[in-house]
């Protein structure tokens, strides 16, 4: 869908993007993650053609990114707002027209969205008469009304109340199921990782890692497992060449919980075989690192 190749963006005295490349597959929910100041917004603004890259190229559906693609992209910026003294419907129709829709078509689609999101009574109201949550719904409609193939959402859930956030999230996922590619950008990694099929992490203007969420997790999994057992007292589990225990057992709800890490070349079955006669198994669970942990790990190692 979108191919970013060696993009460099320099500001006056710092480099915002240092030869960043990434591939955003069609139909994916792509998480663009990284701490504040990593270069996420710079990259998003380049994709939206608000600013230009100093060097490097971007391809949109195998075509060099150009002005005509603007109508195929929907953008919800982090700093978002509306004209306060303008009517809700007028505003949505205006923004849709700027994206290339005809007035008639824009009104028709706006009506459909208003019905769907239960906003019909707001049609003639001024934006300043709406609550903040209502305004966010209006912004959402304005972002998606031209049926973009690519949606770019910069910190989409900041400032949303939980109910609206949930509703908007579901609408986005719904659009994704209909084929819209979505880029989520956030500095709060845990907030989007459950939604994303793919991620890229930016740190200090460089891309640290990129790929399918499941692949990344597998790649960074340390082969750790959590063993829960139900014996009367804690048992020293060491003594196998297949694994070693990490730290001491914790007691959780009257059961013992012990973390173990497999040694290279061994399977979890080897560990289970060793443990079987020793403990009363209650459960076993792989410890999958969160994106947040992977990120912190990466920053520490860098």
């Amino acid at each position: 869908m979108l191919s970013i190749r060696s993009v460099i963006k320099d500001y006056e005295n710092h480099r915002a993007l240092n030869s960043v490349s990434m591939e955003i597959p069609k139909g994916s929910v792509f998480g663009l993650l990284g701490p504040n100041g990593a270069g996420k917004t710079s990259l998003i603004r380049i994709i939206n053609q608000i600013t230009k890259a100093d060097s490097g190229e971007i391809y949109f559906k195998d075509e060099k990114l150009q002005e005509k693609h603007i109508s195929s992209i929907g953008y919800l910026p982090e700093e978002r707002g509306l004209y306060k003294k303008m009517g809700v419907a007028d505003q949505i129709v205006y923004l849709a027209q700027l994206k290339g829709l005809s007035k008639h078509e824009a009104e028709k689609r706006a009506k459909a969205w208003f019905e769907r999101l239960e906003m019909k009574s707001w049609w003639n109201k001024n934006v300043e008469d709406l609550s903040k949550g209502m305004q966010q719904k209006v912004q959402f409609v304005a972002t998606v009304i031209h049926q973009p193939e690519l949606l770019i959402l910069d910190e989409p859930f900041s400032g949303f109340d939980p109910i609206n956030a949930e509703m908007i999230k579901n609408e986005f996922l719904n659009l994704n199921q209909q084929g819209t590619t979505i880029i989520f950008s956030s500095h709060r990694m845990e907030s989007v990782e459950e939604l994303c099929s793919h991620i890229a992490i930016l740190n200090l203007s460089e891309k640290m890692l990129e790929g399918k969420v499941s692949d990344i997790r597998k790649q960074y999994s340390k082969n750790c497992f959590e063993i829960t057992y139900n014996n009367a007292e804690s048992i020293d589990l060491n003594g196998s060449s297949a694994f070693q225990s990490i730290g001491n057992a914790n007691i959780k709800e009257g059961k013992f919980v012990q973390e173990i890490q497999l040694n290279a070349g061994f399977q979890i079955n080897d560990a289970i075989a060793f443990l079987m006669p020793k403990i009363k198994f209650n459960g076993i669970k792989e410890i999958i690192p969160s994106i947040n942990e992977i990120f912190i790990d990466q920053v520490k190692n860098a």
């Binding site: 230009k52 953008y75 978002r80 923004l95 027209q97």
Partner: protein, 437 residues
């Protein structure tokens, strides 16, 4: 282009639909008409309005009772009492002034005017004039020149000015040129200020609302800026056109009402004329002005007016847009406004003083070529006659100046609108100009 048209449409409609626009459109002409009516009312009724001022005169020379005359405003009463008793009775006498002329005054030195308030300039001038005339009459009489000869010396000249033009000799009228020039330049000055600031406010509003980033993901910053400038220009032209129509309609009605009372109008004209001749200024009869107004090359003046009107506005509003983009709120605009408003105010002041008095001088020449001042200065010069090559050069320079400022403003604008929550300095704005996109 289609997007700019959409932006122009929004900027225009959102402003024209505002209550404040509708109120100002109707209130403006009413205010002008009300002022007009009030002026006529004052002219007609001023004599009834002001109380006659009583002035008691203590004339120790006993020669002036025939010379200082009462008029409609001042009533002089000559008293035989002494100055001391007049002074002590002043409060209870009901007189407004006490004029004292000492016995041994040579050439009326030592004349004093007492009152409980600071006397108005008008009465002081009135008394001084009377005494000065008396003195000069006396001196002339002493030299053997009779009053008859003096009255023959009272000339009222009105020089006819004729210009050599391509169509042959033409009557010129300096006063008419003056009026037209001043009126146009005041209008242009007001238009630039009123609507230029609106452009700035509009930009700040979009920045404050945080809608600007949404917009520029659909349109180019340049399109957004130009759409706003043109849209607001159309608002200004609409308001201006409505004002002209409504004002002429209302003043027409008022004029008719007063015309029914012709004698009163005549008396106004007379008082105006007599006032003028008293100040030794040539009175211009209304007919003469009308005659001169008809000699002015209207297609040229109106054409140039529209050109400089729009050219000046476009040039300045681009700068105002750049200022708006560099700040977060209107209170921060002060430091950036100065360099933009100073050339504007400067050219207005110069054009109403230096240029109008010497429309072909070097100051007028250069200022009517420089794009920042030409819209205002050239309009003052134009009715006096300006060589064609100067007009063309000035227009070309204004067009070039417009493109230059728009280019500069667009560079500042596209960086400025995305800068939120930072205090901007001049140095930074300078750097923005050299940013690549």
């Amino acid at each position: 282009m289609k997007k700019i048209a959409l932006i122009i449409q929004r900027e225009y409609l959102s402003r024209v639909k505002k209550k404040s626009f509708i109120i100002m459109t109707f209130l403006g002409p009413l205010l002008i008409a009300a002022m007009y009516a009030f002026a006529i009312f004052l002219a007609v009724n001023s004599e009834d309005l002001s109380d006659k001022k009583k002035i008691v005169v203590c004339d120790e020379t006993n020669t002036l009772s025939n010379i200082i005359k009462s008029n409609t405003q001042y009533e002089f009463e000559f008293s035989t009492l002494s100055l001391a008793s007049l002074k002590s009775n002043f409060d209870s006498s009901g007189n407004s002034y006490l004029l004292y002329i000492p016995q041994k005054s040579k050439n009326f030195e030592g004349v004093q005017l007492y009152s409980d308030k600071q006397p108005s300039l008008a009465i002081v001038k009135y008394i001084e004039d009377q005494l000065e005339n008396t003195l000069s009459d006396q001196k002339l009489a002493e030299k053997g020149i009779s009053k008859k000869i003096i009255s023959e010396l009272d000339f009222d000249l009105n020089i006819e000015t004729i210009r050599f033009t391509e169509e042959g000799e033409q009557d010129g009228n300096t006063s008419a040129s003056y009026m037209i020039g001043m009126f146009s330049s005041i209008l242009i000055y007001m238009f630039i200020f009123l609507y230029g600031v609106q452009v700035m406010r509009g930009v700040i509003e979009e920045k404050n609302n945080r809608i600007v980033e949404v917009l520029i993901s659909s349109v180019k910053p340049f399109q957004l800026m130009m759409g706003k400038i043109v849209g607001i220009a159309l608002v200004g032209l609409t308001q201006f056109a409505l004002w002209v129509i409504l004002t002429s309609a209302i003043t027409g009605i008022i004029g008719q009402k007063f015309a029914q009372d012709k004698s009163k109008l005549m008396s106004i004209e007379k008082t105006i004329e007599s006032n003028n001749s008293e100040k030794n200024e040539p009175a211009i009869a209304a007919g003469e002005v009308l005659n001169a107004l008809s000699t002015i090359n209207y297609p040229l003046v109106i054409g140039c007016f529209l050109f400089y009107f729009l050219g000046g506005y476009l040039l300045y509003s681009a700068l105002f847009a750049a200022i708006g983009s560099a700040v977060d709120s209107e209170s921060e605009t002060q430091q950036f406004m100065m360099p933009v408003t100073i050339p504007l105010i400067f050219s207005f002041i110069i054009s109403t003083s230096t240029v109008v008095n010497n429309p072909d001088g070097p100051v007028a020449f250069w200022l009517s070529l420089i794009p920042l001042s030409s819209p205002i200065v050239m309009m003052v010069r134009l009715p006096f006659g300006v060589p064609t090559w100067e007009i063309i050069t000035s227009m070309l320079l204004l067009i070039a100046g417009f493109f230059g400022t728009v280019w500069l403003a667009a560079k500042i604008y596209r960086t400025g609108i995305l800068m939120v929550g930072k205090k901007t300095s001049w140095k930074e704005i300078g750097k923005w100009i050299f940013y690549k996109n």
